[in-house]
């Protein structure tokens, strides 16, 4: 097990960016299925 050392004033900027990217990907995937629904209904 690695010895932990502390980081001071840690701001999770990478995690925020990851989270935003994940939500955008979720939106793309959800809307692609929604588009299938619309197409199947002749929209």
């Amino acid at each position: 097990m690695m010895e932990n050392r502390d980081l001071k004033d840690f701001k999770p900027k990478g995690a925020v960016a990851f989270f935003i990217a994940m939500i955008l990907m979720y939106a793309v995937m959800w809307f692609s299925i929604y588009a299938l629904l619309i197409i199947s209904r002749g929209g």
Binding site: P12, K13, A15, F19, S40
Partner: protein, 556 residues
Amino acid sequence: MKIERYLRNITFWHMMIGILSMATGVTYGLFQVLARAGIYDYGIFTYGTKLYYQGLTLHGVLNAIVFTTFFIVGFLYIVTEVSLKRKLNRGLVYLSFWTMVVGTLLAAWAIFTNRATVLYTFYPPLQAHPAFYIGATLLIVGSWIAILNTVITHLKWRKENPGKLTPPPMVAVHATYAVWFLATLGVAIEVLFFLIPWSMGWVKSINPELARTLFWWFGHPLVYFWLLPAYLAWYFLLPRIAGGKLYSEPMARVVFIMFILFSLPVGTHHQFSDPGISNTWKAVQAFLTFMVAVPSLLTAFNLAASLEYAGRVRGGNGLFGWIKTLPWRDYRFAGMVGPMIVFIFGGISGIVNASYNVNQVVHNTSWIPGHFHMTVGTASAMTFLTLSYILMEKLFGKRPWSKKLATLHAYLWVVGVLIFAWGMMQLGRAGIPRRTHLGLSPYMNLEEKILMGIAAVGGVLMFTSFLIYFINFLVTVFKKPDVSEAEIEKVDLEFTDAYHKENENLPRYLDNFTIWLAIAVFLLIVTYGPIFYDVFRSTYAVPNAFSPFNPLNLIK
């Protein structure tokens, strides 16, 4: 914390029964995926096509119910003793274990002898032998005894530690068991009051819609029973393995409390296409299913921040430069972060399932098994297999026989399940049904056959990965300990430290489980009350019972 030998041994047997069940279930999983692709025909065995549905029942019940329940109960015993530093009641541990074992043997006998080919959901009018229903009941009752033992131990700890906050891993244990207990009430009512009397022949009629509603009261919250112990490991073990700290401990507590509240009133999203339930209440449960996605989204952020912390401690910099410094070759890290990555895709496919309108595109199609192999089949199952290595080391001083094979197993599974799920979900988008022996159907077009083949490639990789795990685990079990007995006895799961720690200023209502349980029960009553009113008003019992192998009604 010294863990008594009996508890270490019985935890091992919980693990072992679970893993042996999974080994059988996974083998049938391989048969399923090859049979659907038309590569392998069950007909070469004596049962012919009967075995497809029998195999599917075995695959679902052994993997999703037996493996998970045994593993979770055993793992949570250790978490309870280690985090509370207090002994569980030994008699209740044994009583719970043997009740679960007898229940499993009864149900397994019924399935293996083809007397309970009712699939994992065991919906009526498919009828099983009473032994299946009685066995399932005993398995659940056994787990309730484990819950009772845990609650008693925690109450004693509270008495001895007035004013102290419940340790965060213990909050996860309570959330897991709260969800399981309240969820299993639904299926207990279904089995005890409807299925057992009907399968014994005491009553001839059964209301399938009422039984389905009771099943899904249990069936979806069951997902969180599988998932929360994996979250426990991701929150409280993984950050330290990565070389860092949990980013926010209070956020973890809030997440587990949210699961107690929102895991339960969601089952009706499995019944969007069912008659007899009003659109209003289906929409309400659809909304609440979105609510239960919130704690998972909070988890995604909290864990990403924890891993970022670890990556920066290890020298990573830049917006994403910390990712490459993480210990990707460590089997424990690979075996938890791999499932987390897959779970990102499992999560969005679940949100599609939960969306009232979009669900119509994928309802009852191959999309669904694609989805849940990324959630329970990877996020939970893979994490549990990784935990089995960790528990062997912590409880018996036996490090994995081959750490390289353990790491390979993790990545191979991730690749396999992503290929499998992609194939299955594309088939689902094309409207191909689930739970159907499609290998025998003459109407599959070329594109669909190719997708079936892709799913089969993924399935073969998953099976190979499990085989690597199974051999590695068995050799680990039989090898000599790597440390002395004195060291083995002092079990330390090495729970992580936190960057934002909980302190004594934390509002006390966040440590009062009675409040959250009461609200969860209130939400259950408010959301399910009108649904049962609808079901009773518009559906009725019918004198029907069927088996998958006979078109005639079994009720004379």
